[in-house]
């Protein structure tokens, strides 16, 4: 058996087909979900992909967070449904308060697209089981509003609870506090990160690395073994 993983398309979503491809490459079955539809089609996990949903108007992720599909995603994520938010998806997750903190514009004020070095800090989440804690990986990063911020209390708490999942290494591309690239919720089923693992699943494409594939194999194994 395999797992069915939903990929939500909001108006302005860009990396939905890429996320579906990554799910397929990992051996799971991608299921397209539509922002106006509350029905999650009984998927086993959900990816909120990258892009500029609603043009990033108002604030990145601020409008999508109120879409019908998110009502169900929020409800089920609280009940344990694995959810991965990539880039714009991460922004939606913070706007939806499934993850703490917020995203501001990059400190250098430019869009940035680069092959980013990361350290895996937590290999225990639903989406990172196939990594080793401390492993260094390269995942492409591309964003305009990628500067993760939260108050000191929240940052201390995230670190104390091991909820910082990825940190930028060698170069902080957007001014994120404490070099945070990705975080998880208390239960470890919801993960959000700015870099794009779905762009690093095939050796020929993009940066030519496959360091992003374990995201999708991790969740598949977890679901199939559950």
């Amino acid at each position: 058996m395999t797992a069915r993983i939903g990929v939500v398309t909001f108006p302005g979503t860009l990396d939905d087909r890429d996320a579906q491809r990554a799910i397929r490459v990992a051996g799971a079955e991608p299921v397209a979900l539509w922002h106006k539809d509350k029905d999650l089609k009984q998927v086993d996990a959900v990816v909120l992909p990258g892009g500029f949903s609603y043009g990033d108007y108002l604030r990145a992720g601020a409008i999508s967070r109120f879409s019908p599909v998110m009502e169900t995603v929020i409800e089920q994520a609280k009940a344990g449904l694995p959810v991965l938010g990539i880039c714009n998806g991460f922004q939606v997750l913070t706007e939806a308060h499934l993850l703490p903190g917020a995203m501001l514009g990059n400190d250098h004020l430019h869009f940035i697209c680069r092959d980013q070095k990361l350290r895996v800090e937590n290999a225990e989440t639903a989406w990172t089981g196939d990594y080793r804690a401390g492993q260094e990986i390269h995942i492409p990063l591309k964003n305009m509003d990628g500067r993760y911020v939260a108050d000191e209390y929240t940052l201390d708490k995230l670190e104390a609870e091991g909820r910082v999942v990825f940190r930028y290494l060698d170069f902080n591309p957007n001014g994120s506090l404490r070099d945070i690239a990705g975080i998880t919720n208390e239960a470890g089923n919801v993960v959000g990160l700015m870099p794009h693992p779905e762009h690093a699943v095939e050796p020929l494409i993009g940066t030519g690395r496959t360091d992003g594939l374990p995201f999708f194999t991790s969740i598949l194994k977890k679901l199939v073994n559950a």
Partner: protein, 752 residues
């Protein structure tokens, strides 16, 4: 508020003596008289608006089309060409049932006035051309030219243009995979912002801009129509209304990439369900262009009710609605029984769509406002039968002196130390330096099919995940070469783009061009244009790569001073399996570096002459198109059969520039030996065309050199991939770290 009577067709016929502001709208006296002759009466204000904008240089190509005909007349026989010049974009067969459409356009003037929006809407416009052919856009490229890198205004224009291209293209989800950035003082007041796009479709999905079938509905969908981008129409409007009217908005349009993204998805879904008979995007000249082109390309006429156009500003006059260049709008012709489904799809994507008219069985384009007819024209006279000019042209009197000022007489470096200094200066000069600060502001990864992107020789996109079929695109143009000799310069632009496509392993198939020149009213500029077109058409014929479409941008000058003639050429290629692509970067130590082609003492227009001596004179490198073709065949065969692991085209900056780039990208150095018969300076800096360097695994050396020998391509072993420096034996050694610093720090230091 008082209103003068509506200028209806009836009113125009009854008031033949009313003076219209045709001169303010840019029409010449004889052009206006021609309109009156065509109509048999004076035009209405709305008709005048349509004719004036459709007969403008930008829309009608009136100065250039007598020359552009050569692209058709000299077009080589090509089985690959599915749709040629004249449609929104050309379409090329790339095999396996796939077709690719691509085109390059200019958005030069708006980008100087308002860099961000000018560049952004340039991307938006070219992408809509691609969608209008029925294709899903898969990549964009941006050939750019700016004034001197250290000029204060460049720091205003360049960051705005780059942010605009990124802001729009990134938000559309289109990978930006190529292009160029060139600095030259001649572009100070006239930056060139060219934008290219590629789209992919199945053969059966090709759509054309025509309105056929009486009774079919004309649907306008996308953004509401506003007052942005209205040029001269405001003059008409201000005569129709009194002073209580709001002031006019600026003539540069404002883009909304989010709206365009919805427009892409909604259009492609309508295509998938076969709901569309004909389609046209709204770009320059807005509804005037879309309605007259759709109607004149179809079999019937068209009736449009202008009151039904959704407006952003309810005070717009009918003339303004016809001329508005509001972005993110398209016009589709749909059979009556499919209209409901079409509108449903638009609603799904939150796109406003309105039936504004229908195809009629007559041959007139009729437009109504408040129930009265304000336009009644033969659409062909608007769209296709504008004036044609045989502008006078003459070889400028300074051309001989320029060519006589030979770069060969410039002082050359004499010692290894001098060579080394000049290499560092060259690779760190703004034109030769790394453009990563710019390209990292573009998303080149989205859609997950990017095989190669800048700074590779060509951008490459996978088309089919199963078979690995891919397409490649390169754009090139060297204004310095073209200034020295426009005929040869245009051919060199084609040769370089062709070579760049082949260097990545793809077979060149077809050409699009963006011809950027000064004022056609200057005979010297017109001569440059005529020579460049003739050169490009001749070269396309010889290389077997037809021109499928493109764009002409004239009047790129400040006062009397024109830009360098700048024909930018895009070559599209196909590769059967992207797994065989060849990158620029050196891959493995120990591999042998071969120089392919002949190196002569050619420095006219070279980067060396510019960087070291600030000189432009002499003749550009010679062109040998048969050699280019042979070189391309060797590069493609070697890639397909796994004989080379990296390849890099040699162009501006010569061999040393190419070696340094391959070394820095691969993080591996090179030890070079100056071959017999060449001096170190010529070896390193000459810009002879028809050359490339390749890195050959030792196990493949015999097979590779045998192939070159058998085919008659000179292949000279010049060194080996090795170490962490670029060393030219007996001359100098430059550590990669030092080269990297020189190469990568220039642009951020100037612009960040």
């Amino acid at each position: 508020m008082s209103r003068t009577p509506l200028d209806t067709v009836e009113h125009a016929a009854a008031t033949p003596d009313v003076e219209l502001p045709w001169a303010e709208l840019g029409l010449k006296k004889d052009e206006y008289e021609r309109v009156v002759e065509i109509l048999g009466r004076r035009p209405t204000g709305a008709e005048l608006a349509m004719y004036s904008v459709m007969w403008s240089e930008h829309c009608s190509y009136k100065s250039s089309k007598v020359h552009l005909r050569q692209f058709g007349e000299k077009a080589p026989q090509s089985d690959a060409l599915l749709v040629g010049i004249g449609e929104n974009a050309g379409v090329v067969d790339v095999g396996q049932g796939y077709a690719v459409t691509f085109k390059v356009e200019s958005h030069n003037h708006p980008s100087y006035v308002e860099p961000y929006q000018g560049a952004a809407t340039g991307v938006g416009g070219i992408v809509r051309d691609i969608i209008a052919m029925g294709a899903r856009p898969v990549a964009v490229v941006d050939p750019l030219r700016f004034g001197a890198a250290d000029h204060p205004d460049t720091k205003r224009v360049l960051p705005g243009v780059v942010a605009g291209i990124g802001g729009y293209g990134n938000c559309l989800g289109l990978p930006n995979i190529g292009g160029e950035v060139v600095f030259d003082a001649c572009y100070q007041g006239n930056p060139l912002v060219n934008a290219g796009a590629i789209g992919v479709m199945r053969h059966e999905d090709i759509h054309l801009a025509k309105a056929s079938g009486a009774g079919n509905k004309v649907i306008l969908y996308g953004a509401r129509t506003g007052g942005d981008g209205i040029g001269g129409a405001s003059i008409l409007a201000s005569e129709t209304f009194d002073d209580a009217k709001p002031s006019k908005r600026p003539a540069v349009q404002v883009g909304d990439p989010f709206q365009e993204k919805l427009l892409i998805e909604c259009t492609l879904e309508a295509f998938r369900e076969k709901l569309v008979v004909g389609i046209q995007d709204l770009g320059a000249a807005g509804l005037s262009c879309a309605t007259s082109e759709l109607a004149s390309n179809g079999s019937g006429g068209m009736r449009v009710t202008l009151d039904d156009v959704p407006l952003r500003d309810s005070t717009l006059s009918p003339e303004e609605i016809l001329m508005s260049e509001s972005q993110e709008r398209m016009c589709a012709v749909v059979e009556p029984d499919k209209v409901d489904r079409f509108l449903e799809i638009c609603e799904k994507w939150d796109v406003i769509a309105t039936v504004i008219g229908e195809v009629t069985d007559g041959d007139r384009l009729e437009i109504f406002w408040h129930g009265e007819k304000i336009v009644d024209v033969d659409p062909r006279t608007v769209a296709h039968e504008g004036p044609t000019y045989e502008r006078p042209y003459a070889r400028p009197d300074w051309q001989d002196a320029l060519q006589a000022d030979d770069a060969a007489k410039l002082p050359r470096p004499e010692t290894g130390e001098e060579l080394k200094d000049q290499v560092l200066k060259l690779v760190g000069s703004p034109n030769q330096a790394s453009k990563q600060w710019i390209t990292s502001q573009y998303d080149h990864l989205v859609q997950g099919n990017t095989v190669l992107a800048q700074p590779e020789d060509s951008g490459m996109i996978r088309v089919d995940e199963e078979t690995g079929l891919g397409v490649a695109i390169a754009t090139d143009g060297n204004g310095r070469y073209a200034k020295l000799d426009p005929y040869t310069g245009a051919q060199l632009a084609l040769a370089e783009a062709y070579r760049n496509v082949a260097a990545t392993g793809a077979k060149p198939l077809a050409v699009s061009d963006c011809l950027n020149f000064g004022s056609p009213e200057d005979p010297a500029v017109m001569w440059q244009f005529a020579e460049a077109v003739r050169g490009l058409a001749d070269a396309c014929q010889q290389l077997g790569t037809p021109v499928t479409g493109g764009n002409v941008s004239l009047y790129n000058q400040t006062g009397e001073v024109a830009i360098h003639p700048t024909p930018v050429v895009a070559v599209l290629g196909v590769i059967d399996d992207v797994a065989r692509r060849t990158p620029v970067a050196f891959q493995e130590e120990g591999q042998l570096i071969y120089l392919l082609g002949d190196t002569r003492e050619e420095f006219g227009g070279s980067a060396w002459s510019q960087v070291i001596h600030d000189h432009l004179g002499g003749l550009p490198p010679r062109v040998d198109l048969e050699r280019e073709r042979l070189l391309a065949e060797i590069l493609i065969s070697a890639s397909r059969d796994g004989m080379i692991d990296s390849a890099h085209d040699l162009s501006d900056g010569g061999l040393v520039q190419a070696v340094v780039e391959s070394a820095l990208l691969g993080g591996k150095g090179a030890r070079l030996v100056v071959p017999d018969g060449l001096d170190a300076f010529t070896f390193l800096f000459s810009e002879s065309a028809g050359r490339a360097i390749v890195a050959v695994p030792r196990s493949e050396e015999v097979r590779f050199t045998d192939m070159c020998g058998a085919r008659g391509l000179p292949a000279t072993r010049i060194g080996v991939v090795d170490g962490d420096a670029v060393e030219v034996q007996g001359e100098f050694t430059l550590p990669l770290a030092e080269l990297r610093k020189a190469h990568e720090e220039t642009i951020p230091a100037l612009l960040a």
